[in-house]
């Protein structure tokens, strides 16, 4: 049994389904990316796992328990999100002290060292922080609590590129030191490529795909060439005309032999970045923007 399991989960708001019949297990002791366009249901899914919201239908299980208002789930799962609230009159140092009391594995040294590295003074009050600094504080806490399951919803919102990069590095080092189940929702998949072991792509509240990052990178290839008679029409994920003669295709990886064949027929073959692939896969469901005009 996986630590986090969803079985046929549906969540509706006013008859609008945000999550539709979703069944999946989050891989244990792994860093999993939750990817998808805005409105795909990423935050709703995390809220359901965290027990902040109740499912409309189906079952969520965290360590074998239903997470809604469950104390043992609350002690073993930490959820970093944008609307984290801290007591109004607390300084960061007092926030850390409070977490230390609640979470037995709280790493005070890591929290203090990361704060210093990211230029957060422990004397500051969370309510006085900028958006980027608040995200940084939340992210530090998410790393320092060291709960068996830790979820980050768009943790890098408002962070500079340099801070984001350092946060990813800190997350990796923290994971190497204490392997645990980490779920990271983001729309910046290109920045997370090397960090993630698994990828879950959601679209319209449904599971578009779930696979290992390495598989996702091999899932499709891009072709540039003239004739499309050699291309299996069923395998086309995206196509675009480059000029009068040349066309660009993204197709499902057809196997090395076929690729060699295509290369011999003059096609230029290149890899498809996972972030682009996710856009192509979700765009297939709605058509690209050119169709609007």
């Amino acid at each position: 049994m996986a630590e986090v399991e969803l079985s046929d989960v549906t969540k509706s708001y006013r008859n609008q389904e945000a999550i539709s019949s979703l069944t999946l297990n989050i891989p244990d002791q792994s860093i999993t990316g939750l990817i998808g366009p805005n409105g795909a249901g990423k935050t709703t899914l995390l809220n359901l796992i965290a027990g902040i919201e109740a499912v409309t239908d189906g079952e969520v299980s965290v360590f074998g328990n239903e997470p809604l208002e469950n104390l043992s789930v609350a002690a073993n799962l930490f959820y970093v999100h944008e609307d984290m609230m801290y007591p109004q009159d607390f300084r960061i140092s007092e926030v850390y002290q409070a977490f230390k009391k609640i979470y037995p594995n709280w790493d005070q040294a890591l929290a203090e060292n990361l704060s210093e590295h990211f230029n957060l003074s422990l004397k500051q009050m969370p309510r006085d922080l900028s958006k980027g600094q608040a995200s940084t504080l939340n992210a530090i806490i998410g790393l320092a609590v060291q709960t068996p399951v830790t979820m980050f919803d768009e943790p890098t919102t408002g962070m500079d590129y340099g801070v984001r990069r350092d946060f990813y590095r800190a997350l990796l080092k923290s994971y190497i030191a204490h392997p645990r189940t980490i779920i990271l929702s983001s729309h910046l998949l290109n920045e997370l490529e090397d960090l993630l072991e698994h990828v879950i792509l959601l679209d319209h509240g449904e599971l578009e795909l779930m696979m290992e990052m390495d598989e996702l990178k091999q899932y499709a290839v891009a072709l540039v060439g003239e004739y499309d008679s050699l291309i299996d029409q069923q395998s086309i994920l995206y196509q675009d005309r480059l000029d009068l003669n040349q066309q660009y295709w993204v197709i499902k990886h057809p196997g090395e032999t076929t690729l060699q064949d295509l290369r011999r027929h003059g096609f230029t073959i290149s890899p498809v970045a996972p972030s682009d692939l996710c856009v192509y896969l979700t765009q297939m469901n709605r058509g690209d923007v050119d169709h609007v005009f």
Binding site: L172, D194, L196, E197, M213, D214, V221, R264
Partner: protein
């Protein structure tokens, strides 16, 4: 060190980097190999990806496991890598070279002359 624009998966690039360490004598027979966690830190990648790179070397018998101690470079690792690279990497490059040469109508003699010139350290000016 990692090339994200390459068709090669990251774990294959890790495996090739390790092979190069052996080719360059930086890792010698019976030296202790990097652990997946060391590689993850070094290349800033998920340890599972690094682990796959190590597994590839294990599958190719380039390294061997000692229970509880880690993995070590095999006796014949360097020779096997050279043999494998000749059959795979070099042959692929030659295939592409010949394909391009045929495409450009380069004669057999000119192709050989160009290769010889490059080996001597200059460029062909036929």
């Amino acid at each position: 060190m990692l090339n994200h624009k390459s068709m090669k998966p990251i774990y294959v690039q890790i495996a090739e980097w390790l092979e190069n360490e052996i080719l360059n004598h930086r890792l010698q027979a019976h030296d202790k190999m990097y652990s997946q966690y060391q590689l993850a830190e070094l290349f800033n990648i998920n340890p599972a990806t690094a682990g796959k790179g190590i597994t590839k070397l294990l599958d190719d018998d380039l390294i061997y496991k000692k229970r509880g101690l880690g993995t070590f470079v095999s006796d014949e690792a360097r020779l096997r890598i050279i043999q494998k690279r000749k059959e795979e990497t070099l042959q692929t490059l030659i295939d592409e070279l010949v394909l391009e040469a045929d495409y450009l109508n380069v004669s057999h003699d000119e192709l050989i002359a160009r290769i010889n010139q490059t080996r001597k350290g200059g460029s062909y000016d036929g």
